[in-house]
């Protein structure tokens, strides 16, 4: 069942006549992890704030869980958890005290509060430090505390703004695992980021923002085909003579590149791994490794902006 929990239609935000977000339309299905990508200032955060009803919508429409964030902000905010970019807490209060304040704002019943808080903190691995002042917390711990707040809220949608920025690799891995865990609980996740590699590993679909416009949308392989010209990149590591020639003769292979003494990269229209393996064996070579490289988001991203720059210069 694909039911859309977030729908944006022609969403526009203007500041003094200048569009920060310009007619963006997208939909996120229940249970999906959807990534908003793009350079800083591309309009990702503004889009998120409009979806939450925290910023006025200049034009267009948004529906979140069937509610209009402009007219029914409380209904939206009750069911949507938000982790802002560089989330802040009251440093003089402990993690539990911070959570209690939120719990009271949410209107959770007194009897449920502490139990839910303890459960949520346990889930993000902050049980040991729950009574420490948040002032002593690292960046990663604060982000996880923010996620605990979303868990406590029993949110149907989690909106995470730059959740991994400024985190060390270990903290990033931990955070991403909590995000995946959210998905397993049936929570729809909308996250924004400019760190592509990490996002790729968790997102089902992504939308690429640039200067207020949504320019590309789809799964990462789809985007790869769209931007990088659709090819598969098959990596072959093999020892033997004349392999490059033999492999370029394989049907479907467009180009062969030598990237190392024993490594070859095949650009192909389809997955040619079986044929490539057969070709190496036929040529009497020793096959060491065979793999197909997923198009990386980084490459898509870079290529996309290079192309744009190119056309712009050409036009100028």
């Amino acid at each position: 069942m694909t039911e859309n929990v977030i729908e944006a239609q022609n969403l526009t935000k203007r500041y003094d006549g200048v569009a920060a977000v310009n007619g963006v339309s997208f939909a996120v299905a229940r249970g999906e992890i959807f990534g908003l990508l793009g350079p800083n200032g591309a309009g990702k955060t503004t889009t998120i704030l409009m979806l939450l009803g925290l910023s006025e919508i200049s034009d267009g429409k948004a529906r979140v869980l069937g509610h209009d964030p402009v007219r029914e902000p409380l209904a939206v905010k009750r069911r949507v958890g938000y982790l802002p970019d560089q989330v802040g807490f009251y440093d003089n209060l402990s993690a539990v005290e911070n959570m209690r304040y939120t719990a009271r704002l949410l209107g959770l019943e007194r009897g449920q509060r502490d139990e839910k808080i303890a459960l949520a903190l346990g889930h993000v691995g902050l049980s040991d430090v729950m009574n420490n002042r948040v002032g002593t917390f690292s960046r990663g711990m604060r982000q996880r505390l923010g996620l605990a707040e979303i868990l406590m809220k029993d949110a149907r949608i989690a909106i995470l703004d730059e959740p991994t920025s400024g985190l060390d690799p270990q903290a990033t891995v931990e955070l991403l695992s909590v995000i995946r865990d959210l998905k397993h609980r049936g929570v729809t996740v909308l996250l924004s980021s400019h760190l592509l590699e990490r996002v790729q590993s968790v997102c089902d679909r992504v939308a690429l923002f640039n200067e207020g416009n949504l320019v590309l949308m789809g799964t990462v392989p789809e985007l790869g085909r769209q931007v990088l010209g659709g090819g598969f990149r098959v990596e072959v590591e093999a020892e033997g003579a004349g392999l490059a020639e033999r492999l370029s003769a394989v049907p479907g292979v467009q180009r062969v590149e030598r990237v190392g003494t024993t490594r070859l990269l095949l650009m192909a229209q389809r997955d040619v791994r079986p044929e490539a393996a057969a070709a190496v064996v036929e040529a009497g070579g020793r096959l060491l490794h065979l793999g197909v490289a997923e198009p990386s988001l980084e490459a898509i991203y870079t290529r996309y902006f290079q192309d744009r720059e190119g056309t712009r210069h050409a036009a100028a």
Binding site: T46, P73, A75, Y82, P84, V87, G88, F89, L105
Partner: protein, 323 residues
């Protein structure tokens, strides 16, 4: 178009309690409280000495505690309050909204199911409540010490007058709190907000009523040479002076204190001798009449609070959440 759902006040209580507990446990509040108590005791001590020395028979002996000063320290309890209450209100309010921005807690809190109204109302009420607690404690301290040291029990009317004065002091605190809150919304930097609020306070309290209002009044309504020749102030100029001076909350507070704590006060501002015909000089007015004299000033203080709060509210509603 359908109305916005839910109450604008949902969560006010939660915000208020949280802010209140922050205020009451903060070092800042501790310092302000000690400052107020020590200064008040000093003023009270002076007043008691003076009352003991000078006033033998006075029907309103108790109220003299508020308005008498010893010659060596010429500051009364009321004038201490008129300076320290704004300081306290500004101290509590100058960083109430911008600190939420700077700690990056604002967007997280506002993404909970509450309206912005709740945050602002809660913060204002918590500030006012904190000041009220201190002022009530101070008031009880004064009454208690007065009882102990003067040995004269206050009459019911004196207590009533002193109590109404307490309420007016809280309203006076409200003006400065609303002003501090407004600047904490307008300026992202807490230091700037504090400086601007303190600057405006100094201007309104010390510069405006005593010097500038007179200069402006003399420009609007130049003194009549005939009055000058007779060595009298020109009524038109005097009236303007008073109108302008009353733009300052400190002036209003001072006038209310005068009318409430000094029952013999028959008018605030200049009156013609004709108007005093038949009056018994020095005879006290009943409480109701004193209240009538002070009422416009009290309304002025409350109106100023509401006005400043509304301006802050509008600015806050229009502000973007992102830091």
């Amino acid at each position: 178009m359908p109305r916005r759902e839910g109450s604008a006040l949902q969560g006010v209580g939660v915000v208020m309690l949280k802010e209140l507990s922050d205020h009451l446990t903060s070092v800042r509040m501790r310092v302000l409280e000690w400052l107020v108590v020590l200064f008040a005791l000093a003023a009270l001590y002076g007043a008691i000495q003076q009352v003991k020395d000078v006033t033998a028979e006075d029907p309103f002996l108790f109220l003299r505690l508020f308005t008498t000063a010893r010659e060596s320290i010429p500051v009364t309890f009321v004038s201490f309050l008129s300076i320290l209450v704004p300081l306290m209100a500004i101290g509590l309010g100058f960083d109430s909204v911008n600190s939420e921005y700077n700690r990056r807690t604002l967007s997280r809190i506002l993404s909970q199911p509450i309206y912005r109204d709740a945050l602002l109302f809660g913060k204002f009420l918590a500030g006012l409540f904190t000041i009220s607690i201190s002022l009530v404690a101070l008031w009880l301290l004064v009454v208690g010490l007065g009882l102990l040291l003067l040995g004269v029990p206050p009459s019911a009317e004196e207590i009533a007058r002193a109590f109404i004065f307490l309420l007016v002091t809280i309203a006076y605190a409200g003006v400065w709190l609303a002003l501090a809150l407004l600047f904490s919304i307008v300026f992202r930097s807490a230091a700037t907000a504090a400086l601007v609020t303190l600057g405006l306070w100094l201007f309104l309290t010390f510069l405006w009523p005593s010097v500038l209002s007179q200069m402006v009044a003399a420009t609007i309504a130049p003194p009549d040479p005939r009055y000058v020749a007779a060595g009298l102030p020109t009524p038109a100029t005097l009236e303007w002076e008073q109108v302008l001076a009353r733009l300052s909350p400190s002036t209003l507070f001072g006038e209310v204190a005068l009318a409430l704590l000094n029952p013999a006060q028959r008018a605030l501002g200049p009156i013609y001798l004709v108007q005093l015909q038949g009056a018994v000089p020095g005879a006290p007015l009943p409480l109701g009449q004193s209240l009538v004299i002070a009422w416009p000033q009290v309304v002025g203080l409350i109106a100023a609070t509401i006005l400043l709060f509304i301006v802050g509210y509008i600015v806050f509603q229009r502000q973007e959440v992102r830091a």
